[in-house]
Subunit: 120 residues, 2 copies
DNA sequence: CAGATTGTTCTAGTTGCACTAGAACATTAG
DNA sequence: CTAATGTTCTAGTGCAACTAGAACAATCTG
């Protein structure tokens, strides 16, 4: 798995880690059951504090994307072997439309974050 | 125009204001040429500092959604009388898919924020 | 021109969160 | 038992958001 983060970016470090893994799961780069690097290990390779990685893991666990257990490590949830294809298509479509009308990624993201619906 | 913000929310105040107006423009609740409340005025009604509102206006101006000039006030850009229909459809579709696989709004928003594409 | 309105800019202080750091602990695998 | 891994706790640092007040510039109206 390839994760790169930018310490200079405006987005928080833990959010970058979270987003990278989430994207990998949605795109299928990370398969269900696949094991993620140990927190300390990933932290070292990213030159980041362990707590930052753990926060990312915690966030993803809350979302149900990964399963985390002391001593055993962290793996991609099997229940999430869902079909992400429609989601990916919708995502691509939204990004395309956003570009067309000139909205930035942040603007688009904001639009999604505050969008009405089931999860609200 | 109706804007409400939640001081207790985790999202920044200026971002809430920004998102509310952006959404209003995209949904057509705010029409091109329509005038926004004066910064001081809106700040008072939202019980927020003027600078917070001004930051939201500045952000939206950068996105090209509104036009801002001293003495004249703030209006929705006419150039942005674009067709937002496809964008709205894509947005609704993404939210629907996100709910289906159990992704939160924040998770979805993150996915969009870090999505590849033209604007990158 | 004079005055009112509105956005711009500047300074300054407070608060909360992200991040870092180190350590002790619980759980699991071998 | 030992090693590996996530959990929890304490603590300190830095930065961004927010607030507050004031002076300034541009525009419109009378």
């Amino acid at each position: 798995m390839l994760i790169t983060i930018d310490p200079q970016a405006k987005t928080a470090l833990f959010e970058q880690v979270t987003a990278a893994i989430r994207t990998a799961v949605v795109t299928g780069d990370l398969e269900p059951g696949e094991r993620l690097p140990a927190a300390r290990e990933l932290a070292t390779s990213l030159e980041v504090n362990m707590h930052t990685v753990l926060r990312a893991y915690r966030t993803l666990r809350t979302e149900g994307l990964i399963q985390v257990r002391p001593g055993r490590g962290t793996v991609v949830s099997a229940q999430h072997s869902r079909d992400y294809q429609p989601l990916r298509r919708a995502l691509a479509e939204l990004v395309r439309e956003g570009d067309r009308v000139g909205l930035s990624r942040d603007g688009l993201a904001d639009l999604v974050r505050h969008a009405p619906g089931a999860t609200a």
